[in-house]
């Protein structure tokens, strides 16, 4: 007879299990504590009563557990519980790249983002300069707007000052422009695979529209002087130019796997036998294990 069988035999109908005996002493002790505390806000008599109850509670409690703990014999009542599932069919999720369809399985190499950013950055200069020539008769106007906004001594300059050449502002504008274009290009490289159907539509038009709208909303708070001088129509044209050119350049590169399905150690470049578990070892991968049917077959 196994241990479990012996245990079940022991606890058959009519057997008993002993459990701690019910007792009133905990409530007496607790009430005594509360009364002792209540006496501090009422009268001393209440505290004395509380102390007496506490003493009685402690004595009663000790007598409950010393020298032997009191228990009650509770008869075992046979109420069998049938443990069955109403949904016996089991389906395991397949472990495959198709379950990552909404995350990039492949992405563009880092270099594509850098190239896209450089190309887009150069392309957007053209509409910006055209705007400067048409609106202010100076190609330095948009350059100074960008460069001037990035320095601390921008103190409400006149239009003539902004339209003039300042080599410091030019250098700052180049630095801001190059850094931003490279970073946005890298983001394009990372994000475009998430929009597999129309990457250039997203990168070229939707994304520039979104961040132009965002800047339009906040620029009045961040830098009101700059906000007053930005022509938002031309701004949008230059952003879309950047987006379309950067998107096209990135999209021309061939994609590489992201490696997200690989173990973390493998992605770190560690190579060792058994690092990647073969799919066959990872348990049943698909299909339905029809436990109930199998049980029925076994019974029959």
């Amino acid at each position: 007879m196994t241990e479990i069988s012996r245990s079940q035999e022991k606890h058959r109908e009519g057997a008993t299990i002993h459990l701690p005996a019910p007792t009133a002493w905990p409530i007496v002790l607790a009430f005594g504590c509360a009364m002792a505390a209540a006496g501090m806000v009422t009268t001393t008599g209440v505290s004395i009563l509380g102390a007496v109850l506490m003493l009685a509670g402690c004595i009663g409690w000790f007598r409950q557990v010393l020298p032997h703990e009191q228990h009650e014999e509770v008869p075992v009542i046979h109420r069998p519980v049938e443990i069955v599932s109403t949904r016996p069919l089991v389906e395991r999720i397949r472990l495959g790249p198709e379950h990552r369809a909404h995350l990039p399985i492949e992405t563009y190499p880092v270099i594509s983002g850098i190239r896209g950013g450089i190309a887009g950055g150069i392309a957007m200069i053209v509409p910006a300069l055209i705007y400067g020539l048409i609106a202010q008769h100076s190609i330095w106007y948009p350059v100074n707007l960008l460069g001037g906004a990035g320095v601390a001594n921008w103190r409400n300059p006149t239009t003539a000052q902004i339209a003039a050449f300042h080599w410091q502002w030019l250098l700052i504008a180049i630095a801001i422009h190059a850094t931003t274009c490279l970073l946005v290009g890298l983001i394009y490289g990372a994000m475009l695979p998430m929009f597999p159907r129309h990457p250039v539509l997203f990168g070229g038009i939707l994304a520039p529209l979104l961040w132009t709208g965002l800047l339009y909303s906040f620029m009045g708070i961040i830098n009101p002087a700059l906000d007053a001088r930005i022509d938002w129509g031309w701004f949008l044209v230059s952003q879309v130019t950047f987006g379309v050119v950067a998107g096209l350049v990135v999209a021309r590169h061939s994609r590489v796997p992201t490696g997200q399905s690989l173990p973390f150690a493998a992605r770190l470049g560690i190579e060792a036998p058994g690092l990647i578990i073969s799919k066959e070892d990872a348990g049943p991968r698909s299909g339905q294990s029809q436990d109930k049917k199998i049980d029925d077959e076994e019974k029959s």
């Binding site: 005996a21 607790a30 509360a34 443990i83």
Partner: protein, 562 residues
């Protein structure tokens, strides 16, 4: 227990005792040491105070419904918001969650009772009498305004307002003494849960096979031990100030009110996690069962829970940005608070990943958990906003803070508690709660919730400070306050539907059977309601989902769990 115990004659003689006369029935409840009965007592006690605290909230909202309102007096208003906060945190939140823990922890780990059954009863009665003592202050408290003064200085009871000069009489003493008494009860229960979890697990139930519910209650209990202690210490210091002329919090005599603030929030912020982690625990059980999938990332969930426990001890001063700390202090508490967001983020992502690809059934418990997920996300985001010191400087003690806090306490904790009721009520009573009424409850409550607490954010952003008795018209607050109050009434209707559902189901509900949700943890392997001994034979488990293993012998979890 086996050879070192003696039988008691005339004690409870059956696993399913008959009700008998009313006195016998009452006697059975008063002398019980059974963890299930004590769990139900905790929950019933907390439900009673939930209604009391709810009525107080309704009175507060009626007062604020329109400008220049004088439905209740300013003195009564102060008492109401103080007692509402104290009640909901100490007499509702903690007891109800410890009630769930009492009922479920032993049965989930295959034990027959808590490790210390008598201490368990003592802890409950201490908590209960503590609450009654607090409410007796409405009759016996003698404060600034004479007899019948409940505490009236806010649930955080900042010094020096609690000193004899500003709070004469006894109302603050009632507050401190009542919470000390119930605090000892809380500590007793926490010790019991830890001891039970560590020492009474059934065969095969290693720590990493415990249900997440039990894991989280273990963390909560440890956190409770660490956090109740400073509160109790501070309350004893307060009583020494008030009774024996000590000067811990008296700045004019060399003490410091800041000491109280630090002590209180060293308790107060982890207390939020003491309340919210059991809510997470309920979600951890409900979401997988109704998604028909094992919980996603069990080890990460355990790690995140423990991480929250530790980190929550290092964030208290984000409640105190406005007291003027140093830049280093501000920066530390901003960053540590942000770190909590990482752990809770892990949990939210794991719950979503559990639902992802699952065969989801939106029964009432799952509806409430889904609502919880959305609302807790918002609560977390506003929490991160308030964790940024300059933002907090602008909005501290505004209704924005109140909205954030209630998004956590109501939007997350109360929602999960409702989910827990619908989920485990069949186990405790053997009867199902009505799904139709449950869905009405959910939708009515959630509409009221968003009317009240979404709007409360805006009124806070417009500058309405917390705790004000009334306000001037035409400050942009009038309509918003009206909407908040209407939302409160809608929520009250939702709660009444719930109460009716509860009562109706208890007497007339459909019979549940042992496992109505086709669930996987050990409590569902017992009859509903379970016998006094829970299990006639000690169960043995081989995985985190023991009932899954039995139900699917050809595809058990233990084959795959590491």
């Amino acid at each position: 227990m086996s050879d070192q115990t003696i039988p008691v004659s005339g004690s409870l003689q059956a696993a399913y005792p008959e009700r008998g006369t009313l006195l016998e029935w009452l006697h059975g409840w008063i002398v019980t040491v059974d963890h299930k009965k004590l769990g139900i007592l905790y929950i019933t006690y907390a439900l009673f105070f939930l209604l009391v605290g709810g009525v107080e909230a309704m009175l507060i909202r009626i007062q604020l419904m329109v400008p220049h309102n004088h439905v209740i007096s300013p003195e009564m208003y102060d008492e109401l918001f103080t007692m509402h906060g104290t009640t909901m945190v100490f007499l509702v939140g903690m007891p109800i969650l410890f009630g769930f823990a009492n009922y479920l922890v032993p049965i989930m780990i295959g034990a027959r009772d808590m490790a210390f059954p008598r201490l368990n009863a003592f802890s409950f009665w201490l908590t209960a009498f503590g609450g009654l003592l607090l409410y007796y202050s409405f009759l016996g408290g003698f404060g600034l305004y004479g007899m019948g003064n409940a505490p009236d200085v806010g649930w955080f009871a900042y010094a020096p307002l609690t000193g004899k000069s500003f709070s004469p009489g006894h109302n603050m003493d009632y507050w401190a003494l009542a919470l000390i008494v119930s605090g000892f009860g809380t500590v007793g229960t926490a010790i019991n849960i830890i001891a039970t979890t560590v020492s009474l697990r059934c065969k095969g139930m290693t720590f990493f096979r415990m249900p997440l519910f039990v894991w989280l209650l273990l963390v909560v209990s440890a956190l409770t031990l660490v956090t109740i202690t400073p509160l109790t210490a501070a309350q004893v210091m307060l009583l020494l100030d008030r009774y024996l002329g000590a000067h811990f919090f008296d700045a004019q005599a060399g003490g410091s009110p800041m000491l109280w603030i630090h002590f209180f929030w060293i308790f107060g912020h982890p207390e939020v996690y003491v309340l919210v982690l059991p809510a997470f625990a309920i979600a951890n059980e409900v979401i997988p069962v109704f998604s028909r999938k094992a919980i996603f990332g069990y080890p990460a969930m355990v790690a995140a829970s423990v991480g929250i426990g530790f980190t929550s001890l290092a964030v208290w001063a984000h409640h105190m940005f406005t007291v003027g700390m140093s830049s280093a202090g501000n920066s530390f508490f901003v960053i540590s608070t942000m770190v909590v967001g990482i752990f809770t983020g892990i949990k939210v992502f794991n719950w979503l990943a559990t639902m992802w690809g699952g065969s989801i059934t939106f029964s009432t418990p799952m509806l409430f958990c889904t609502g919880f997920l959305f609302q807790f996300l918002i609560a977390g985001l506003t929490g991160i906003m308030l964790a940024v010191a300059p933002w907090d400087w602008q909005l501290h003690n505004s209704y924005f803070l109140i909205a954030h806090f209630h998004y956590v306490l109501v939007g997350a904790i109360i929602m999960c508690i409702f989910a827990g009721f619908y989920y485990w009520f069949p186990k405790a009573t053997g009867r199902m709660m009505s799904e139709t009424l449950g869905k009405w409850h959910f939708w009515v409550f959630i509409i009221g919730f968003h009317m009240s607490f979404d709007t409360m954010h805006f009124v806070g952003l417009l500058g309405m400070p917390r705790s004000i008795y009334t306000y001037e018209p035409n400050r942009g607050w009038d309509t918003l306050n009206l909407i908040i109050t209407i939302g409160a009434f809608v929520q009250a209707v939702g709660v009444l539907i719930f109460v009716w559902n509860l009562v109706h189901a208890y007497f007339r509900g459909k019979l549940a059977g042992p496992d109505p949700w086709d669930a996987w943890t050990l409590e569902w392997a017992t009859p509903s309601p379970p016998p006094a001994y829970n299990f006639a034979v000690e169960p043995e488990v081989r995985s985190r989902r023991p009932l899954w293993d039995i139900k699917h012998p050809n595809d058990p979890d233990w084959k795959y769990e590491q």
